[in-house]
Symmetry: C2
């Protein structure tokens, strides 16, 4: 048996169901090994950022790692931006990177680079497999690392001779996923005291705490104590809509975020990290909490957030209470001009039950998130690490993970251009993704930040580099160029028609919403 | 004066003429500073790999560094693959990366990552500017590092407070570019002895040695001594065509490369590194030279390759000889079926004088390189580091550097998809780039390597991941989606018509050549 076959055997034995692949010469034995035994769905991508973002989307929806298959240092480099998002999403992800044969590395061939050094900043775990005999152990260790709560990027570097060399066949190691840590008992007690004490308390949630079960518990606690609940600005996945407990996200703009937390005496972190400003700004703080606010780190990422919420609910006497459930509240279809608000309204009206919304709408995000609060039950996935170009890949991965659900990708146009190659993979795989491009022809968030930083007007370079018109991108043409059916909407009526058609369509569909 | 203004002032004082930019919030003060004083052309890109590849192309054509402007770790990560190629091209490149304010970094905000660690593998020099007062010195040091022969990637990391803080105005430091080292006198003497001795000698050239002046000297030496001359497989830039001395490239396929060097007793390296296999293959050597062949490292990259060639020419008594000049030899236009050969033939016939050919045709490259040997004089730029996705960005940069020349980008379809966003920048800038997409609907090089590695037939996954049809990419639609005029050719006649139209066209034009 060759090393590559042991790799694949180990993936299958551990239920790794998909591999988002961009292989090169060094990975051809691994690729062939996927053909020697069935069990892993190989999804070809045309750019590595698509593969890593898709593996993230797959993990968010299944809780299990998908694999990638990337080519040497440059291939890994192309995947790093979305690995950064996956790292911030704290999902399990098995990032497999081929490398030169170990005996070839010292010759510094053109494609040689320091793969371990490149992987380290975006990985929780990195190892190079020294030889074929080590593949069984190292692959299992990588899967275990990926599954270590809350989940992390494990990069397994596979030199081609570790892949193609013969080694005695072994039974694959089946990994026992490590259990999450218990919540911090002391912090939980103090948080419960604060909740009972009547001072203003904010619960900040992420990870399992923003699942339907987590939000149910948080809702009971809030109803009992008057605490305010926020999901982290870049929450990994929020289960929401009718029948669930609604949650606001902590706003992205620093002034709004500070205002949201103003007056808080206690912030209780459950699956979330301390709220900090997305960027440093001159004269503004990095910490978003007011001076003197106490932070209670009840369940850091990796600890059992649901157990923490259960315990808090018990301690405040809310465990048996009814939670404040969101009722179905569908708005009518929007009419008139097309803008982020009218898109959000019509989306809320038409969103199918069980939809997965992938939100890289950036400046337009809130206008969709808010009206969907009372939409049919759905999941909401966000850009966790701020690295743009996640939407289309994440939507691909979510669609592969959940083939019976519609995925809706709310996509800012500037960010969409980073990884538009994902559309081709969506077409190839018949992925059920409806992409809505918010075509405002600019990096809206940068123009907003220019104002935020005190710039009164833009010079020519600032205008040139924040405006992505001249020429306008034609997203219908781009989508069709990759085999994805598409249409352009310029008012609410045409958008409504296209959105209905898109939801009825089999396979991917893109709407260029000119706003 | 703020740090960002000192940065821009220093760039201008040192003749940095262009900045390929993909800024984010942390780089907005730098962007605004470009507006506060004219002198640097800011070219917006929609993906960082476009910016870094374009800076490479600019440097190859001017010998001077362009700047990039990238956003934090993920923005840098997206640019790394083409920085890898630039590193292998050994060009001067000033890679400017914004980072969080120094006082914001410890808060581990969503976009925080270890920027220095990410930059190191692809950079020859890395420094973080600690404060605004250090911008003048650090920028000058970065430019000096970039210009250190033969040229390297210098990454200057600019935290946003180093950019926006006030500091006393200073005169910008004007950098004296370091001179190249003298050739190795001992190695040169021994190489000359070998050349005079009658044994089989190969001259392997790169860097300045493949300029017209270098090839003239190499041609004289070869004519006198019978030595065989090769350009490095991934030569940075070759000046060629009628009136110059023709040079073959050492082939990419390992068996052909070994055959090309078979029987060589001496290999003389001038601006080039030792020839090694692109990949390690089971049972094949890493070194391409035969056993017992002596390597004479006369002018390592960074040494004066032209001086080395002049000295060798003197020592073999060829300094005053006439070189074997290539005469103009234009083939007729191809007819019949469209394939890499007919494209190469028609290209050779129509290539305008002074054209810059950017070659990322991969499996189709030789079929264009060979017939263009006798074409009108032109430059040939290759994919130096093997990291695919260089063609369109490199062409953009070459076009910005040489606005009065036509740039022809020979582009494999699979590789083209990596950085197709460059087409939009070509349209925005009115870049004179003619892109010829070799649309064979597959990763041809991988299918070739599968055979090379002994795989007799492809399984489903291998086929799925090496075939990029189903659906076919429509390059005409993709190009038009980014504002680039385009047409599809399916036979030699339609290709000839489109190529003539493309050369007559003002601004970028793309031909999808279905082969």
């Amino acid at each position: 048996m060759i090393g590559a076959e042991i790799l694949v055997k180990t993936l299958i034995a551990n239920g790794v169901g998909a591999c988002f692949a961009n292989p090169g010469t060094s990975e051809l034995h691994a690729l062939a090994a996927f053909d020697s035994m069935p069990g892993v769905r190989c999804v070809p991508t045309l750019f590595e950022g698509v593969a890593t973002g898709a593996a993230d989307g797959y993990a968010r929806m299944t809780g299990t790692p998908a694999a990638t298959l990337l080519h040497l240092g440059p291939g890994l480099a192309n995947g790093l931006a979305n690995l950064h998002n996956a790292r911030r999403a704290r999902v399990p992800l098995l990032n497999i990177v081929g490398d030169h044969a170990t005996w070839h590395r010292s010759f510094d061939a053109p494609l040689t680079s320091d793969v371990e050094a490149l992987a380290a900043p975006m990985s929780g775990w990195v190892r190079t497999v020294p030889d074929a005999a080590s593949v069984a152990r190292d692959t299992a260790d990588a899967i275990r690392a990926a599954l270590t709560p809350p989940g992390q990027v494990a990069t397994l570097i596979l030199p081609s001779n570790s892949s193609w060399d013969e080694t005695p066949a072994v039974e694959p190691i089946v990994v026992e996923p490590p259990a999450p840590a218990a919540p911090d008992a002391g912090a939980t007690r103090k948080a419960a005291e604060a909740l009972r004490g009547g001072a203003r308390v904010v619960l900040l949630l992420n990870g399992a705490a923003t699942s339907a079960a987590g939000l149910t518990l948080a809702g009971r606690i809030a109803a009992k104590t008057g605490a305010k609940v926020f999901a982290h600005t870049g929450a990994t996945r929020i289960e929401r809509g009718a029948g669930r407990v609604a949650v606001e996200r902590l706003p992205y703009p620093i002034d709004l975020a500070i205002a949201a937390l103003a007056g808080a005496k206690h912030v209780v972190l459950i699956g979330a990290t301390e709220p900090v400003a997305f960027f440093g700004y001159p004269g503004k703080p990095s910490r978003l909490t007011p001076d003197g606010c106490r932070i209670h780190d009840v369940a850091p990422p990796g600890a059992d957030a649901l157990a923490a919420l259960r315990q808090l609910a018990e301690e405040v006497g809310a465990a048996g209470d009814a939670e404040p459930t969101q009722s179905l509240a569908l708005p009518g279809l929007a009419t008139g001009a097309l803008n982020a608000d009218s898109i959000g309204q019509s989306l809320a009206a038409l969103l199918p039950e069980g939809a997965v919304v992938v939100d890289e709408a950036l400046t337009s995000s809130t206008m969709a998130y808010t009206p969907c609060t009372g939409a049919r039950p759905h999941d909401w996935l966000t850009i966790t690490g701020g690295s743009i170009g996640i939407g289309m890949p994440l939507a691909l991965g979510a669609a592969i993970a959940c083939p019976d659900r519609k995925v809706v990708n709310l996509q800012a146009d500037g960010s969409g251009m980073y990884t538009l190659q994902a559309l081709w993979s969506q077409a190839r795989e018949g992925a059920e993704v409806v992409t809505i491009v918010f075509a405002n022809r600019r990096y809206g968030i940068l123009q907003w930040e220019l104002g935020n930083l005190g710039f009164k007007e833009m010079g020519e370079n600032a205008r040139n580099c924040t405006d992505i018109g001249r020429p306008d991108l034609n997203w219908v043409s781009l989508a069709r160029g990759m085999g994805v059916e598409a249409g352009q909407a310029t008012d609410a009526d045409s958008f409504n028609r296209l959105l209905k058609a898109a939801f009825a369509h089999k396979g991917p569909f893109l709407i260029e919403a000119v706003i």
